[in-house]
Structures are given as structure tokens and as C-alpha cells.
């Protein structure tokens, strides 16, 4: 309220980026689920056993923000009938766009298709 506009610095945290990524990735056609790595799975089980769901989890996603760019890793499960390469590309594209829209960050998205359900 004094002189001019104070400079505002916005920093978006890793968890926020991971959350956006997880939410968007899950809605990509062909993605059946995101797949937690071992550490995330064990943490989730510990939480469940201790009866404390702290925050909604971002299993299967890791994010690291670095200045005005971010690196995101997404691990997905798909189903036979969807082309794995196309699913991976779609996840990369959609997640990067979504994060850029919400945060303005430049994102590099790495995708791993960890499993293909055969049914």
C-alpha cells in the first residue's frame, strides 16, 4: 500500500506439480492406473496401517522444480489394445500442457509404461 508494486516471487512446490501431473495423467485415455514405486507403496501402507492418510497421495509421479522449469516422471499402467507409444506420448503432452497452464513452468515429462494388462 505504499510505493508502487512490490516484487512478487512465485515458487511452485514439487508436491503441487506432482499433484497436477498425477491428476492429468490419470485422465489420459489408455492409462488404467499410475503405479507407485517401492518407496511410495511402503509409505502408503505405513500410512494405512497407522490410520493416517496425511495427504492424497501422488503415487507414480515424481516432480522436481528447478527455477522456472520442472522435471516430472510418471509411471503408468495401460491395457492391451492401447498402443504403448501413443499412450506415453499423450501423457507427456497432456501433463506438460496442464502444468504449464497452471504454473507457467516449462516441464520435461518422462514416462514409463510399467505394465500392460492383458485380460
Amino acid at each position: 500500500m505504499t510505493h508502487g508494486t512490490p516484487p512478487v516471487r512465485l515458487h511452485v512446490g514439487d508436491a503441487a506439480v506432482a499433484r497436477i501431473a498425477a491428476q492429468r495423467a490419470r485422465r489420459v485415455p489408455g492409462v488404467v492406473a499410475l503405479r507407485a514405486d517401492l518407496a511410495q507403496a511402503l509409505l502408503g501402507i505405513a500410512d494405512a496401517v497407522l490410520g493416517q492418510e496425511r495427504t492424497p497421495r501422488t503415487d507414480g509421479v515424481k516432480a522436481a522444480v528447478n527455477g522456472d522449469s520442472a522435471e516430472v516422471t510418471v509411471t503408468v499402467v495401460t491395457r492391451l489394445g492401447h498402443n504403448c507409444r501413443d499412450v506415453a506420448r499423450a501423457v507427456q503432452r497432456e501433463v506438460a500442457d496442464e502444468i504449464a497452464r497452471h504454473t507457467g513452468l516449462q516441464v520435461q515429462v518422462s514416462v514409463t509404461v510399467a505394465d500392460i494388462l492383458l485380460d
Binding site: D37, G81, H82, D86
Partner: protein, 210 residues
């Protein structure tokens, strides 16, 4: 989806290894392509068991690949399932195949890809997949596939291998998105047709020698 007409690479493959003929003398890739495009079988193809089998293979893969699965939700996994899934997901770099993507690193679990190829081969008549190895050279996204199969007692082995090869090429491109550069097929055993379909992988091959 870019339907795999790949005539370029198919032709390339055929010339590289000489043509892969069915027992009737027709080319397996040609029969496959005709089936995929939906051509009505000609007179020969209607009567010939080898061509009919090749047609059936192409249709079967097509029904799998283009069956857009309804967006089922995974059932909530048990604790054990979650741990085992996570352990399996802890993929080391050599367990991963590279997928071609303009948007950054994209990878595919090698065991999952091998399971898909075994699965599509298992759906073919007269063959069962045993093992499947997928190798990628560093920095390339196409792959060499080595697959061992057992064949039903009495089927023509040349036709079977031509069909398996065609199935692997098409499934690599259509289901995985991994172009297949080379397919090595080894028929390791034969099984008795009386147990076909009943018991999977029942390698009860008599000392069948053809």
C-alpha cells in the same frame, strides 16, 4: 490410429530375408495385408488352410488391438498386491525399452512387452509361445525379437513360423509402438492337438518328427 500398412518396411523385411512363404507358396505378409485391409478372400485363400490361418491371425490381432477397452477401474489392490506391483515396478534401466517420442524420454517395461507378444502368439491357432526376448540396440527404438514356440503336432512348421513372424511384426508396431527389425523364431517342441486349448503350454509332444 495409424494402421500398420507399413508396406515399406514389410517389403524391406521380406527382401532382407527372402520372402516368408506359407506352405502353399503364397507370401505370408501379403496374405496378412490383404486380411488387414479387409479384402474378400480369393478362391485360393478360401480353400487353403495356410492362407485361412494367416487371415485369421490378422483378424485376431485386429480385434485385440482395436478393441477399445472400456475404461475399467483397477480393483482396489490388497497390501500384498501393492507391494508386489511396486517391486515389479522397480525396473532397472536394462528392464526398459525405449519408445520413440518427440516429447522426452519414454520407456516401456521389457517384461510387460514380452508378455504382450507371448499373449498375441498364444491366441493364434496351433502355436503356443514359450519364451520371448526383446533386444534393443543402444539409442535405437526398433527391436530384435527372439521367441520360442511350441507347435501343434501336425501343423506345417514353415507356415507357423511365417505366421508368428508376421504376428510379432504387427503386434510390435500396433500394440507396443516398438518397430520390430528382426524376428527369430525357434520351434522348441510340438504338442498334441487333443490337449490344444485345454491345457496351456502342455508340451506333451510325442516324439513327433516331421
Amino acid at each position: 490410429m495409424a494402421v500398420n500398412r507399413l508396406s515399406g518396411s514389410d517389403l524391406h523385411g521380406a527382401s532382407e530375408w527372402g520372402s516368408e512363404s506359407l506352405a502353399c507358396g503364397r507370401d505370408a505378409a501379403t496374405a496378412w495385408d490383404r486380411a488387414e485391409v479387409g479384402v474378400t478372400p480369393d478362391e485360393h485363400e478360401r480353400g487353403c488352410p495356410h492362407c485361412a490361418a494367416a487371415f485369421a491371425d490378422a483378424r485376431r490381432l485386429d480385434s485385440v488391438v482395436h478393441r477399445m477397452s472400456n475404461a475399467d477401474v483397477e480393483p482396489p489392490p490388497s497390501v500384498m498386491d501393492r507391494v508386489m506391483a511396486a517391486v515389479r515396478t522397480d525396473l532397472r534401466p536394462h528392464d526398459l525399452l525405449a519408445l520413440d517420442s518427440p516429447h522426452g524420454p519414454a520407456r516401456l517395461s521389457r517384461p510387460a512387452a514380452a508378455a504382450v507378444l507371448r499373449n498375441v502368439v498364444d491366441r493364434m491357432g496351433g502355436v503356443r509361445a514359450r519364451s520371448c526376448r526383446i533386444e534393443q540396440l543402444d539409442g535405437r527404438d526398433d527391436a530384435d525379437v527372439t521367441i520360442t514356440v511350441t507347435a501343434r503336432f501336425g501343423v506345417d512348421l514353415a507356415s507357423v513360423t511365417a505366421r508368428v513372424r508376421q504376428m510379432v511384426l504387427a503386434a510390435g508396431e500396433q500394440a507396443l509402438g516398438v518397430p520390430v527389425r528382426r524376428v527369430d523364431i525357434e520351434v522348441v517342441d510340438v504338442f498334441d492337438s487333443s490337449v490344444d486349448g485345454a491345457v496351456d503350454g502342455a508340451g506333451g509332444g510325442k516324439d513327433g518328427r516331421r
